[in-house]
Symmetry: C2
DNA sequence: CGAATTCATGAAATCGTTTTCATAATCAGA
DNA sequence: TCTGATTATGAAAACGATTTCATGAATTCG
C-alpha cells in the first residue's frame, strides 16, 4: 500500500504539499498540484483513514441505535438516515439493541473509544442518567423516543396527540367499547404517552374502559394473533381496538377474519405507522412522518458534530396524520 | 481525555506495561496489573480506537452492502449479521446501494481506505471485473447474489431450483396458463436463474408460455397492483402467476381481491421469501433460509479476516422450502 | 525603494496506540 | 558457580496521516 510518503517522493515534493493537495488547501501552485495528482494516480494511492482519524480526531461515522432492524418502522428510519448520511459524507454504524439494556450500553463504548462521532438513538432502554455521562464524549441526538430529562436535541412526535387522534376517530365512528393492544414497554416514553392519549380520549368522551380490554406486549403479527385469541374468549369483548403498530393490527384483523368475524362490523381495528402492510390489509392507521423525522435527526447530528458546541435540549415535534381505510 | 501515557504516569509504569495489561499479554506481575487497572479506572481511561486501528492495521468493522434496508429480505439478513458480528466483536457498517452502480462503487472506497476489514455483498450491481481489483485490499464475501467469475466465497441458493420448485408446484396443482412477475434486474444472477428455472419447469411439463404473461420490474406491493392491472386487461389472462417476492404477490392478491377475483380460483399466486406478510395474506411461498445464509456468510468473513489468507472461490449452497398456503 | 503582506513550500511535531528490541532479574539445571 | 532459559519491564520505533512553525520568494503599498 502506498503511503503519502511514497507519493511525496514520487512527485519530488514533501508530505505536507501532498496533504495540502488532498485536502484542497490554498497556496499550492497548479504545477505541483498536477505533479501530486499524477503521482497519486500512478501509485493508486488513497489516504489511510485510520491515520486521518487519529490525527483529525474525528471519524466521519455515526452510530444509529435501533431495537431491531427488521421492524419496518426502524428500517425505514435507517434507510433515510443512511441516504442523508451518505450525502453528507458520513458512514452509518448499525447498532441493534434488541430491546436490551446491556446491548444498548455495550454500544455506548463506540462513542467513548472514538469509533464514531455521534449517536442517534431511536429507542432508549436505559435510564437517561446512564446515558448522560457519555455526552462528554460526543453528541447524542434522540429521535422518535424521548425523555424529559435528556439535555439533548430530540426529534419526535407527541404520542399523546397521536393516540388521542386515533382513539377519537374510533369514538367518532360510534364505538364505545374500545380495547387497547400495544407493546407497552416499561422504559419507553412513547408507550406511556400513547396510553395517556388513549385514556384521555376516552375520558374526554365520558367513555368507560375495562381492564380486560387491555392487551400488552404486542409487537408482531404473531402477537396480534394471540391478542385476538384472548379477546375472543371474553364475555363482553370490545367493539374496536386501538393498536400500537400495523403489524399487530394486521395480526388481529387476520385472526378475526379467520374466525369468521367481520371487520369493522364485528371488530374495528386501527393500526399505527401506515406501513405498506396497512394498505394491503385496508387498515385505518396513524401515519408518522418517518422521512422527516430521519432527515431532521441526521441534520441535527451533523450540525452538532461540525459545530463542536455542546448540545442543548431542543425539541422538534412533528405532526401525525390519520389515514382512514375500511377497518374502522 | 486520558491517554495511555497518563495511565502509565499515574501507575508509575511505562506505556508498554499498560498496553500489555490492556491486551492481556503475559509477563506482567499481578501487582502491576492491579496498579494499572486502578489507574485506568481512576482516570476513566478507554483506549482510543483510531490509534489502535492505525497501529494494528485492522478496524474490527465489516461493511454490508444491501440494495435497500427496507426490503424485508435484506433487513432480515442484516439483523442476523449484526447479531453475529456483535458476538464476534465486529461492528457493521451499512451500505445501501439503492440498486445503483455508482453507489456500490463509492462504498468500495471503504475497503481501500482501510475503514473496514472486509465486505459482504448481498447484491451485485457492477460487473465482477469492476469489484475484483478491490480484493487486494481485503476479503469480500458474496451472499445471496452470485457470480460465476467471482473468485471468492459465496453463500447462496440455487435459484434455478427455487423457481423450478415453485413453478412445478403450480403445474402440479393443475394450472397450465402461468404468468411470471418479477424484478428481472439485468445485472442480477438471481433474476436470470429464477427465469431459467421457471422456463425449465414449463418446458419439462410441456406447457407453453406466452410473452404477454411476463411482467417485469416488479419489486413492491405497488408494483403488484400495477401488474394485476395489466394482467386484468388481457383477453387471455394466466390462471396462475409466479412472483419474485411476497410483496409483489401480496400486491397482486390484494388488487385481485379488490377487483372481485377469487384467489386461487380465478388467479393462483405464489410468493417468494416467506415473510410475515405471506402468512397474513395466506400466500403460498418459497422460503429461503435467511438466518443460515447470514450466519454462514458472517462466519466466512470473520475467518477470512483472521486467517489473512487470500480468499478462494467456495460455494455454500443452501436448500429452499415450499410453504403451501391457500393462494394456490 | 523599503516595509509589510501574501504566497508557496518543507521540516518536524503530533495524534495515541502497539510492537520490537534491549536489558535486567530470576530461576533451573549441570 | 556458571550457563541458558524464562520472566518482567521500559525506551524507542512504527503506524500514516495533518498541522504548526519556520523560511524564503513574490507581491503590494506608502
Amino acid at each position: 500500500m502506498a503511503t503519502i510518503q511514497d507519493v511525496a517522493k514520487r512527485a519530488g515534493l514533501s508530505r505536507t504539499t501532498v496533504s495540502r493537495v488532498i485536502n484542497e488547501h490554498p497556496y499550492v501552485t497548479e504545477e505541483k498540484k498536477r505533479l501530486v495528482t499524477r503521482a497519486m494516480q500512478e501509485l493508486n494511492y488513497v489516504p489511510n483513514s485510520s491515520a486521518r482519524r487519529l490525527r483529525r480526531q474525528q471519524t466521519e461515522t455515526i452510530a444509529v441505535y435501533v431495537p431491531r432492524i427488521t421492524n419496518p418502522f426502524f428500517s425505514h428510519l435507517v434507510e433515510v438516515m443512511g441516504k442523508e448520511a451518505a450525502k453528507k459524507g458520513y458512514q452509518l454504524i448499525l447498532c441493534q439493541t434488541r430491546y436490551k439494556k446491556e446491548h444498548e450500553r455495550s454500544f455506548l463504548e463506540l462513542l467513548k473509544t472514538k469509533q464514531v462521532d455521534g449517536l442517534i438513538l431511536t429507542s432508549i432502554e436505559n435510564d437517561w442518567s446512564k446515558l448522560e455521562p457519555y455526552l462528554s464524549f460526543g453528541p447524542i441526538v434522540v429521535c422518535n423516543e424521548y425523555s424529559d430529562s435528556a439535555q439533548v436535541p430530540s426529534v419526535y412526535l407527541n404520542q399523546i396527540e397521536g393516540s388521542y387522534l386515533g382513539t377519537k376517530h374510533l369514538i367518532d365512528q360510534g364505538y364505545t367499547k374500545i380495547g387497547y393492544c400495544t407493546g407497552n414497554h416499561k422504559s419507553s416514553r412513547v408507550s406511556k404517552d400513547r396510553k395517556i392519549g388513549f385514556l384521555k380520549a376516552l375520558s374526554d368522551a365520558g367513555i368507560p374502559m375495562k381492564e380486560e380490554w387491555f392487551f400488552y406486549n404486542a409487537y408482531s403479527v404473531q402477537d396480534g394473533f394471540a391478542a385476538f385469541k384472548e379477546l375472543k374468549k371474553l364475555d363482553d369483548p370490545p367493539q374496536a381496538v386501538f393498536t400500537g403498530s400495523d403489524e399487530v393490527a394486521a395480526g388481529i384483523a387476520k385472526a378475526a377474519f379467520d374466525a369468521g368475524w367481520r371487520v369493522p362490523e364485528d371488530l374495528a381495528i386501527i393500526g399505527f405507522d401506515n406501513q405498506p402492510l396497512a394498505e394491503l390489509m385496508d387498515l385505518t392507521t396513524i401515519e408518522q412522518p418517518i422521512d422527516t423525522i430521519a432527515r431532521q435527526a441526521m441534520k441535527l447530528m451533523v450540525e452538532a458534530i461540525q459545530a463542536k458546541k455542546p448540545l442543548k435540549r431542543k425539541e422538534v415535534i412533528l405532526p401525525f396524520q390519520l389515514i382512514k381505510r375500511s377497518s374502522t
